[in-house]
Symmetry: C2
């Protein structure tokens, strides 16, 4: 099942089910107006979703247009982003000039969740001096997860999978990291690709709690990277269990993978500019040469299904001056 | 105006206005069922609140019982907690064995906002091994704050003031700080005192964006501290502007002061156990002697109005095994 949210007069938008080919949609209905309402009662709406899926398979539905889409979850009570690709972590320490992070637990921060940009929304930011960067990620949406849930039990709470652009301001990030308090100014609102999909939708692309798909990234129309999500050091179920160690996770919590990154980055490229800059610093034994984004730049991100499909649809947006 | 939220079948509870003496309440009405709805349309409900205030002053209303209270804002889209008392910061570096934090900007982290415990709720936590600690704070609730709002302009977005217990797990906190990602496991849900009050309600106790009131804290019935909120290094308006530097702040965002702490801590005491432990480490040139909380312990917090009143009401709760 693929779900999307159409923009509406409500900040939560209107939840719709989308056909397998992404061409048509059907509204979920008034009992479940939006994604937050759906994830709060996920187990009880299974039959409703199955019926909608059958009708879509039979050709019913209105024409779907991703440019009318909000994020599938336009806002939520909680966004916790991991950093589960150690290649990314190692390169970022070089990019930021920081000592290696020693941690026996997964890395995770809490970010703003009151707004996720839609897949084609312009992204307003205040200054190019801040080092504007994209970060291509995958994420999961969970239903209510009780405090102390184990990683094994966490797997069944993963109801939906999403694709995220975690906008980052790199001139501010290391300054905030050094305080130990984590990021506030360095992490403005993220964006989401149009479709939130159930794990079965990915087939063999969802394995061991990892999204084993290439995340194709194009910056101003040029291919920037196509790293694969399978190299997570820990799975999403481990990240969920980490997050739930001392708190109940509210239904609708989004957990991110952190920037998708592969050890063979020379072949597959990267999912953020900072990584490329670190690679340049290593290669050239000097300063980085690739600049960060400028206002007007476009970024396109598309996770590629194993059949060549586009399970999450496409993020394609422009960064603009606020 | 004092506002409270009665527990109801909704996670957001039922918003009520409370009389000046805290003895009676009137419901706000169906158009504004809860605090989040109120703060989203704050400027348009001023006359409704004023009318309710008049009726309460004339003796109308139902008997108010704080034990039926949720937090005045039982959940919100965003909770950003500062650390604006430098005395607290300096003592915490000693308690945690960390290097001094060098930052030209206010310190701030993003914490969980999907649940604030009510003032008399038991607080379930998983293990005493985590170093369970309270943190007495003040906080503000803002309406929508546009990105880039100045500190001067931020003042008028501060609509309500609250009193908070920011529960902290001290064995985990320094481990998470060292990653630079900030706290997730070390910061479970906070608690709020029953009343959110408009700034005018504090009279001279609200000055320069600071809550200039003593925060009386009793642990298991013994006075622990009564530090005053006026010694914030920066005002709440500065914290709001800091938070809004690269993001719009959604209406209902809660901004915390960090643990209230005074330079003359030897006389006034502290607002968290970690500070006392740091003071012991300095004084005794050895390990701290005061242990953290054990299951069954009670904590009571009450900000004292300049007239001896209790503008926020009382947090009085017990920490229990989850």
């Amino acid at each position: 099942m693929r779900l999307a949210t159409l923009k509406s007069s409500s900040a939560d938008g209107q939840l719709v089910a989308v056909s397998r080919d992404g061409s048509r949609y059907l509204a979920i209905g008034h009992d479940t107006p939006n994604m937050l309402a759906a994830i709060e009662r996920w187990d009880s709406i299974g039959s409703v979703l199955a019926q909608l899926g059958d009708r879509l398979d039979q050709g019913e539905g209105e024409p779907f247009d991703a440019s009318n889409c909000a994020a599938p979850l336009p806002r939520s009570w909680q966004w916790l982003d991991g950093s589960a690709f150690s290649t990314h972590g190692e390169l970022m320490q070089i990019a930021f000039g920081l000592d290696p992070i020693e941690s026996e637990k997964p890395l995770m921060y809490q970010g703003m969740s009151d707004r996720f940009h839609g897949p084609t929304d312009n992204v307003p930011l205040p200054s190019m001096e801040h080092g504007i960067d994209f970060e291509g990620e995958f994420g999961v949406i969970v239903d209510h997860v009780p405090m102390g849930t184990s990683a094994a039990d966490a797997m069944k709470h993963i109801k939906l999978i999403v694709q995220i652009n975690d906008w980052s301001l790199r001139a501010i990030a290391p300054v905030e990291m050094k305080t130990g308090f984590g990021w506030v100014q360095a992490k403005p609102a993220c964006s989401m690709a149009p479709f939130a999909v159930t794990p079965d939708e990915l087939g063999e692309g969802w394995k061991n709690g990892r999204v084993c798909l290439d995340l194709e990234i194009d910056w101003n129309g040029d291919r920037f990277g196509a790293a694969n999500g399978r190299q997570m050091d820990v799975g999403f179920h481990d990240l969920v269990a980490h997050a739930a160690y001392t708190r109940d996770l509210v239904a609708g919590t989004v957990i991110g993978s952190g920037t998708v990154s592969n050890a063979n980055y020379a072949e597959v490229g990267s999912s953020c500019i900072s990584e490329i800059r670190a690679i340049e610093m290593i290669r050239d034994k000097g300063p980085a040469s690739t600049p960060f984004m400028v206002f007007g730049d476009t970024i396109r991100m598309e996770g590629r299904g194993l059949n060549g499909g586009s399970p999450f649809g496409v993020i394609e947006q422009r960064v603009v001056e606020a």
